[in-house]
Amino acid sequence: MMATLSPFLDALRPPAFHRTWNKREPAKVVAKRAADLPDMTALPIRALMPDLPQTIWSEDALLGPTNLDEVRRQAQAKAQALDWSKIEAGRMVNLIANPHGLQLCGEAYVTMLEVIAEHVRETRGAKVRLRIAESMGHIENPDWVKIYRLEERFGDVEECPQMGAGTKVDTKLGDMYVTKKLFDAPYFIHTHVTEMREGYLHRMLDRLMKPFGMAYARLESRSAYHFGFGPRTGQIVSRCIFESDYIQDRYVATMVLDTTSEGVVSVEADNDLKALDRRLAGGIMRNYGMAMKILGEIEDCVVVFDDHGCGVYCYAGGIAFDNMLCADVDFMDLDNLSLLAAERHDSADPGLTMGKNNAIKGIVINYMAGGVPQPFLWDNYPIHVVGDTVNRWMLNDPSNYHFDRAKAPVWSTLDDAVTAACRDGGTKNVIVFDRTPGAFRVSRALGEHLLSRAPKVREMVETVYLPKWLRQRGLAL
């Protein structure tokens, strides 16, 4: 008699915690990872979407190859195919990286950066320095420069926070501002990863340009992105800055890691960023669509944060929690104005970006970073915290002064916190955002529920959502 193969990957572990830039050591504070709660399992995204493309690099061997050979080979091939002739010998090139690439793709992202730097030095005789565009929450990020030995590997490395000195850029809409140190060389190279983060903001319009309106932009223009445009047009900031003469004079090429929930599926590059964006956009929506939409099938649950992200940027199954927060909204639908209520200029109760997902019955903070305001969590959901140290970190976060409004009980153990949250919320379902790639960390019954819903959701994504998303953007797969 054949044994029935379980779709669950119980052996899949969450990534370890790192020491943070501001010297916090969550690994010494967090006594128990949520993965070790009773009855937890890992539901592979591939079990929900069997035709997910195969990876060339994954963080965990259970998901795919972990060696970097194919990433390096593809990056080298792409580098050879790009036109670098703009770069004159002996001059300086800023190779611009972002922390999301380091967080999600780790050594694969660093390998891509190394290939670019080596190629440009060797073929153009230019000098290359690494510039990391830092965003909100930088000081609580893992210390990526040390973790990946970036100074040793790249030499001149600098993290460039968004509040650093700026440069005014003349754009089609008027003055905008970028971080000076990212563009203070005759040339720069743009790098990215294609993961689905902040889809409610970029709406998959110019997705690969987004850092020009966010991570590369100064506070003034990042703020205008949020407050000076409508719910589907903030990305015009990214387009305006990218197309400005100042940026175009310096821009050389883009190389990205194309990703799915499981890891890297290919290295892609082009001198024409807009062409690259349109080439990849359909695949991004296809590859993440299932993971995004299945979260809308959760009827009741407790969410556990157990990751380096700042609340909405904690990850599960390769996607950020913001996808779950908006899971009852089709924010990829460009006809959907639901977010207008969140950002319209005369709203008395804007909630800034997000509404409330009524399926979330409570949130447990085992660990999360600060740095990004999350009032829509503290005001809308029962919050539970594990341990006095994590509670103190939350209360002291300059971006979450509201946290005390949550009046969160502080529990001495994770088990107690989850038990209380489930009891109060009337649910037994738990989903954990612990940055495990390729799978949702869920209580087993919730995993089985999602598995049972997967065929219907898959059909909806393939026959309804994806065709609509593509049609609205004039895209094909």
Partner: protein, 217 residues
């Protein structure tokens, strides 16, 4: 809404090189410089000095410091800021918010939950620069990514768009960043040049809703 300050910065004198970066980013101008005494260890002629009562736990100084010379310390006695906004003419507050295109209760600084009406109140009450607004309300002392533009815009609408920098070479803020709003014409439409510049974006739909809102205001 007021903010409770639970931590303040502390300068580590022997690590400080007096580079002034912390002074240039502090949103409440809580940091200045003093000469390094001969008996003090460390490099540089100057050492940063903190006015703790003006430190609102923004941590911008920690982030910008290249020498790891600033750390945040918890206060035994936290203090509140932003409670005592000056009494001003309510109609003037409404008028300034209306001119800026913001509802009075619109959340401007999400980190501190400061509303447009509170910012307007502070401006009308004498806070004529972003730093003064921050000191009065507590706003702009968190991530700053969300509130910067609306605060600059409200100041400009009140006639204070040309506030001097403090310090002179500070970069706590530059100017207002361009928005779509500023291009709305009196008839509620967008110029053709802008429409034609972004054909992939749903400007017609987007702008239709925005125009309705603007007409309402």
């Amino acid at each position: 809404m007021p903010k409770t300050v639970r931590m303040v910065a502390q300068i580590i004198a022997e690590k400080c090189t007096g580079c002034r970066l912390c002074e240039q980013v502090c949103p409440t101008v809580a940091i200045g410089m003093r000469p390094r005494r001969e008996d003090e260890a460390g490099k540089g002629r100057n050492i940063a000095i903190l006015a703790p009562e003006a430190c609102y736990n923004a941590q911008a100084c920690v982030e910008i410091c290249p020498d790891d010379a600033i750390e945040m310390v918890e206060l035994d006695t936290p203090f509140d800021v932003g409670f005592d906004l000056p009494p001003v003419d309510e109609d003037a507050v409404k008028a300034l918010c209306r001119k800026a295109g913001y509802g009075r209760n619109m959340q401007i600084c999400v980190c501190t939950d400061t509303k447009a009406g509170e910012i307007a109140n502070a401006i009308i009450g004498g806070a004529h620069s972003p730093e003064a607004v921050s000191l009065a309300t507590g706003a702009r002392t968190g991530c700053v990514e969300l509130c910067m533009q609306p605060i600059l815009h409200l100041l400009a609408c009140a006639g204070h768009g040309d506030a001097p920098r403090n310090p002179k070479n500070g970069f706590q803020w530059y100017g207002q960043s361009a928005t779509l709003w500023q291009h709305v014409q009196p008839d509620g439409s967008l110029p053709d040049a802008i429409r034609n510049a972004f054909p992939e974006f749903p400007l017609d739909k987007e702008f239709g809703d925005m125009a309705k809102l603007k007409r309402r205001s």
